[in-house]
Symmetry: C2
Subunit: 308 residues, 2 copies
């Protein structure tokens, strides 16, 4: 059976069993990103968008599409921000990919390193701390992305989060009784009138990990399809596995989880709306719901272990 739109060989079969060739898959993918942007009102005129770029398939894909859209519409600007955690044999490689991609497409790229900003690479922290890699990295990455985006005077931070990431996050919060954290999920997060916290947008929100991988592959982006060496250790990895198990047997499970969640999201946000009034960390000035932000607290912990 050929592509549903032409006679070409299909490269992708949708859940609904529709087959698409290379060029029609690319068209489908890009249309769905545009649909997501419009449906959730992710981009406004004169937005200054910085894309969190890791050099992997998801962030490279969304940076590419947003950059094309920016050139075409001239309604918003695009740049890229890479956080170098200092993960040997991984980030050093994807960083090179990111640099060559941005140079190829003439996209301004800012690189912020853990080492310079925090004093330690992630690898160094992991030698000291007993915490799981993803717990440490999650805190500092979010922290440095927000700080970096503000430094670049951006008003939005685009990330490569896809449908799989969101479905995993929804289940993780549910499995650990964390409705409050779920209230901060969704295709666009953050509050309009908080200038400290740069709003996050997820234009790949409705596209699966698999679709994004195929798109990146078909577009021949100069990237490696590697995974962070720490990813296998986390709670997310277990949730990813059971979710992939269910999706394989019952296609559409991930979409259902995200759509069910979207139906409840406004109620959830309303319920936790008092949480949205963030203050500034008295140490670093970054947005936080506590007196001292999580990043400063965690960094203090790591430093105090070192002193002992």
């Amino acid at each position: 059976m050929p592509c549903k739109n032409c006679q070409e060989k299909p490269v992708f079969i949708q859940i609904s069993n529709v087959k698409l060739c290379k060029s029609h898959f690319i068209r489908y993918f890009e249309k769905k990103v545009l649909y997501t942007i419009k449906k959730f009102n992710l981009i406004q005129k004169n937005d200054k968008i910085v894309t969190a770029l890791s050099g992997g398939k998801d962030s490279t894909t969304i940076l590419y599409i947003l950059n094309e859209l920016s050139k075409k519409t001239r309604r918003f600007t695009i740049s890229a921000l890479l956080i170098d955690e200092g993960i040997r044999n991984y980030r050093d490689k994807t960083k090179e990919d990111a640099i060559s991609f941005c140079s190829q497409y003439a996209i301004p790229l800012e690189i912020i390193t853990y080492k310079k900003e925090l004093g330690f690479t992630l690898d160094e922290m992991l030698k000291i701390s007993k915490q799981k890699p993803c717990s440490i990295c999650g805190v500092f990455r979010r922290y440095l992305l927000n700080k970096g985006a503000r430094k670049l005077k951006a008003n939005k931070l685009a990330t490569g989060h896809n449908l799989d990431d969101e479905a995993q996050s929804i289940l993780m919060n549910q499995f650990r009784r964390n409705n409050e954290t779920s209230a901060r999920l969704g295709p666009i997060t953050g509050i309009l009138d908080n200038k400290n916290f740069i709003r996050r947008i997820k234009p790949l929100y409705l596209l699966t990990e698999k679709e994004t991988a195929i798109y990146a592959f078909l577009k021949n982006f100069p990237i490696q399809f590697t995974e962070c060496p720490n990813a296998k250790q986390g709670y997310r990895n277990d949730v990813r596995n059971i979710l992939n198990q269910m999706e394989a047997k019952y296609p559409g499970t991930k979409h259902s989880i995200v759509n069910t969640f979207l139906e409840n999201l406004s109620n959830l946000k309303e319920h936790y709306s008092h949480q949205s009034s963030l203050s500034s960390c008295k140490k670093c000035g970054e947005p936080t719901s506590k007196e001292v932000c999580q990043a400063c607290t965690l960094l203090e912990e790591i430093k105090s272990i070192l002193k002992k």
Copy 2:
């Protein structure tokens, strides 16, 4: 390490690592049922409660506890209702257990059979219909339980649903984008002013399957710990497996799912409150949201296959 309350040998270890001996486990279990009844306001004075009894561990346990409570408080009455689907080598056995249990405790027992009420046993239906056993059985069991409870002039129907059942149902609805069905979950369902639909209560709502099995075992109820031969085929079984997988690695997962759900339930119920206005099936008079209820529709389908 002995029981936390005495020096006896523990029979159960809670998630919080607290150990309990036989008599303290039984006390803990019964107290938690009472707590559930009070917290969710499951029982009022002068309630006429019929318990859906299968002869298995869950329904026998809740019938026993409610019967004891009824004798002690004299605030409500208890009887039992068994739906005999006609599943050979399974229901015939648990039915005998149910009969002997009710006779032992002098509890009035009503038995309703698929064969007499619908014209076919479940086994006969399965030979004809292509639908999955649990899909057919779910519809007709609910139908006959409600009809039977009304016939017995009960105002509440107690079921043996435990925390595992609820956690599974929550995920199943989420994985199949069925928020509307989720809005009908919870420890007490049905609407106060709909006389056609008997309200369901789930006094084992906060107790796990494992806890209930241990209770039934320790109380030495005259039951067999068998499983319906059709249970392995269903969607629920796959969800049960991944949930047990996660619970084994991360104890407390099932509680988190149910508690997270309870935090959202009132919003969900409000959102789907228009659904609560049930009408009567124009064929059989039972409550339904459609013109003809699901049971009548399904029975028509089965009969029409037979005619061909």
